[in-house]
């Protein structure tokens, strides 16, 4: 006996076919809406983050699950996974970074245009993990500044989603002047980046 087809028969009621982002705080009147430029830019940026996956090991496999339909990172405006650093906003470092790989991670980071963010996924990228040895970099924050760390070995896709939402939060709230501030320049200088 054939298995009854049940999924496509019922028409599901679609409440909102297009997801709308919550508007920032502002002043609404008839026919106009006034808010801060900072908030608008933040809203646009945080909902269109282009990730650059730098996957070197098992965390990269979890990332594949994250990008696929089940966890679906595209819901957060990041379906455009880019492999060209110039167009990307978020560097996602996933997996063990050997010391020989470190200059390459740094080069990729330098090739990204400002504003740029970095997410370290998993124990290895965050701290070297179990690879406490002469060949492995003990956390990518030794070579580039990191915004969000996702713990786990490897983290579940939900954990990465949580980290990604934290990145969105940072992106949305970031001041437009932050990247020109002395504090940011000092941070960059501490990594030897001009």
């Amino acid at each position: 006996m054939a298995r009854p087809v049940q999924y496509n028969l019922t028409n599901k009621f679609v409440e909102a076919p297009i997801a709308l982002a919550n508007p920032p705080e502002g002043y609404t009147g008839e026919g106009f809406f006034a808010t801060k430029l900072n908030d608008v830019v933040g809203l646009a940026r945080k909902n269109s983050i282009w990730p650059l996956p730098f996957a070197t090991s098992c965390c990269g496999i979890e990332f594949m699950a994250l990008m696929a339909s089940h966890y679906d990172l595209a819901r957060f405006g990041s379906e455009r996974v880019s492999f060209s650093p110039r167009q990307c906003d978020l560097l996602m470092v996933m997996g063990t970074i050997a010391k020989k790989m470190a200059p390459i991670v740094k080069q990729v980071y330098l090739q990204m245009a400002e504003p740029r963010w970095v997410l370290a996924m998993g124990a290895c990228a965050s701290s070297g993990g179990i690879f406490d040895s002469y060949a492995v970099l003990q956390g990518i924050d030794q070579i580039i500044p990191v915004d969000v760390y996702v713990p786990g070995c490897p983290p579940r896709p939900e954990a990465v989603l949580d980290g990604f939402i934290k990145v969105q939060d940072l992106v949305g709230k970031e001041s437009l002047r932050r990247r020109n501030s002395d504090r940011y320049k000092e941070l960059m200088n501490s990594y030897g980046i001009q």
Binding site: G128, Y134, Q138
Partner: protein, 168 residues
């Protein structure tokens, strides 16, 4: 007549006599040692001899024995006779302060990368190697990490509290 460990031993002893020593058979694999200056002569003989025909270098590696004075580093050659399907192990020992051993690259092309790896991790100086530079580790590394004189854990790490690992 198939080649056996006894025939190999007899053949090598006929040629080199007392210069080959420390004969043993671990897991049915014939193992012997010679002085490091003889290594190319022994390998050439094992390669050329019509009965022995050890023409494939399976593996080349080093071992560090810190307790053996003046012969701390062992260089181990694993040779394979593809005709009779027999393997042997041949060792030479060298001083860790003067780790010069003649390179086998002229005889076995496969020795090239394996000698580079052995140099990379143990610092064995293969005399006559065409390009003896690091192969796996970062080029700027200034020590030989597999020698037992170095601590196992990465020393740049500052967040590891010895107390939490039950160490003094």
């Amino acid at each position: 007549m198939a080649l056996t460990n006894e025939i190999i031993r007899q053949h090598v002893t006929e040629k080199f006599g007392e210069e080959i020593y420390d004969w043993s058979e671990l897991y049915a694999m014939l193992t012997f040692t010679s002085h490091k200056d003889l290594n190319l002569k022994v390998l050439q003989f094992l390669f050329d001899d019509p009965i022995l025909q050890f023409r494939f270098l399976t593996d080349l590696c080093a071992v560090h024995y810190p307790e053996k004075k003046n012969e701390e580093l062992a260089v181990v050659y694993h040779l394979h006779n593809l005709v009779d399907n027999i393997r042997i192990r041949y060792k030479v020992f060298t001083d860790v302060n003067n780790p010069g051993v003649f390179s086998a690259t002229a005889l076995y092309a496969s020795a090239n990368w394996m000698e580079r790896e052995t140099y990379d991790f143990y610092g064995v100086n293969f005399i006559g190697h065409p390009n003896l530079v690091r192969i796996l580790n970062a080029d700027e590394m200034d020590y030989f990490p597999m020698r037992k004189e170095y601590p196992l854990e990465e020393q740049t790490r500052v967040d590891k509290d010895d107390e939490m690992f039950g160490r003094d």
